[in-house]
Subunit: 326 residues, 2 copies
């Protein structure tokens, strides 16, 4: 289908157009994605972007579903983008979406999509922000990015979201998971899910201790003074979820009052521009790596034979690309 | 310390020089790493590079330790690089190394190091091959890269190793873990660890089924005809480990006989050159992203204000970098 027809369909709220544009974001041809984002971009910037991250087993999907339900009760439309960086090859996304939709399947105000990026060289960290732009342009009030916390991905989510929720659960190696400094750095709000299980109190006090230690070490300016609240939830029974959503709203007000929203939006734009530029460079490398240009092959042969070190070879490669000879 | 003194120390087998050069690979200043790799590179290319990957809980560390023990019995020196992409912020690497060294601590022929990359923009996928070069130059017969299989990382290991072992274990969601096509693609050898537990036979037959299906679908050339063996191990009791090491040797002979070793070395060199070139581009972006050049800030502001789409901004950024104005 013509891209312009898809974009018109998106503007009219057609689900099929939305799904197809998400596929373009996920693994479309680079030129088509570029055209789509160029056309969509002026319609973006209105959605609230929420991130939910946490280790496997903390009940992230259930919590996300419960938050989506609460947001619907508050008459907001919700899109969920479920990103699992540990399954780049998974083909089970569709089935997963169907399972996850239960409870929302009759509601046109909720849209759920799993991402399995195979198309782009930059992987999910490249494809996710593009998919978020599509959902933003589709007019959803809230776009939730749900991702398994495997290190780098938490940081990526935080780079894309206005507000990031880090979900933890008792008995998941408690201290160890909280000890990851990265989690503390990216969290605007903590949810201790499965809070009816033993160990929730211990986890919460460990977390408070680490937050206080981190806070004492940091040089915290007035504008940035947000103390991440810790909310106990039992997502399967909807307990604590309304309170969590209240905190999402409060953090939104903090972003506005402190001027941080504008700062984060600029950082996000900067991140997007940089990632797209890197993807362009990767695409050029990929092209010359596939025999369409003998330069990289020749360099690799010299490096493999130890006649040239890889840094000097990389310089030659960059010179050639920038000089337009590759 | 002067880099030249470290390199001389490395050549004399000094552990302190080795440890410090690994720190340079892990999070050293880009210029220092570049100088180090340039100086080391001519001494590399002699080590056998082995990759061991698998999901958390399959007993990878124990298996790696057992393989190292078996290699020592065969009078080979061994370096282990334990890479955990899920803990980029972990500070626990040193303690982990001490725990892991048990059984080898009196043996100068074994060296174990955990990687926790914080320094480089390209993360562990950039730092790992550099650390492997350091260990290769240090003269170890075998360098084992052990990594938690979280999607992309298996592929990265395979790109760096001569031979990749994928470790599985019964009762870990069996079918599901094997179903990841990525695991099938990268494995030269499968180890079913904890093979004394129930479900080992079921896992093995599922795996065989998938391999046969994959084999039937593929267009397999004569040179590439290696059928990944499946070895059952109980690493805690050293069972099956000698057989596994025999398969490592057999795969090495296959690499030589088929000409695949040269192909893989060139691919690895190509990958290295590309990754280093990308890291150079990332470094330039990072520099102009930190206020040393107003261009990216200005572009980000326009993108945030929806006056410019991110692709057009990325073009401007690349033009400026390549034109030398940034």
């Amino acid at each position: 289908m013509e891209l312009s027809a898809l974009i018109d369909g998106l503007a009219r709220g057609e689900r099929r157009a939305l799904a197809r544009l998400l596929t373009v974001a996920e693994d479309g041809a680079p030129a088509r994605l570029r055209e789509a984002i160029g056309a969509l971009y002026p319609r973006t910037g209105t959605a609230r972007i929420l991130g939910i991250t946490g280790s496997p087993g903390v009940g992230k999907s259930t919590l996300t579903n419960a938050i989506a339900g609460e947001l619907r009760r508050r008459e907001r439309t919700v899109a969920v983008l479920a990103v699992d960086p540990s399954s780049p090859f998974s083909g089970g996304a569709l089935l997963g979406d169907r399972v996850r939709m239960q409870g929302h399947h009759a509601d046109p105000g909720v849209f759920i999509r799993s991402m399995a990026s195979r198309g782009h060289l930059g992987g999910l960290s490249f494809a996710t922000p593009q998919a978020v732009l599509v959902l933003d342009a589709a007019g959803f009030d809230d776009v939730i990015i749900e991702t398994v916390g495997v290190g780098q991905s938490e940081v990526e989510v935080a780079a894309t979201a206005d507000t990031t929720v880090v979900a933890l659960a008792p008995g998941m190696g408690d201290g160890i998971q909280a000890a990851k400094a990265g989690i503390l750095e990216v969290a605007d709000i903590f949810a201790i899910n499965k809070a009816d299980q033993s160990g929730a109190g211990k986890l919460e006090s460990e977390l408070r201790g680490m937050l206080e230690m981190g806070h004492a070490l940091e040089d915290v300016g007035a504008a940035a003074s947000w103390w991440p609240p810790i909310v106990r939830t039992v997502a399967v029974r909807d307990e604590g979820v309304a309170e969590l959503v209240d905190h999402l709203d409060a953090h939104g007000r903090h972003l506005d009052a402190s001027g941080l929203r504008e700062v984060r939006r600029r950082e996000r734009a900067l991140h997007a521009v940089r990632e797209i530029a890197l993807e362009q460079v990767r695409l050029r490398f990929a092209r010359i790596g596939h025999g369409k240009d003998p330069l990289l092959d020749a360099l690799a042969a010299e490096v493999a034979a130890r006649e040239l070190d890889p840094y000097t070879a990389a310089d030659s490669l960059l010179d050639a690309i920038e000089g337009g000879t590759a």
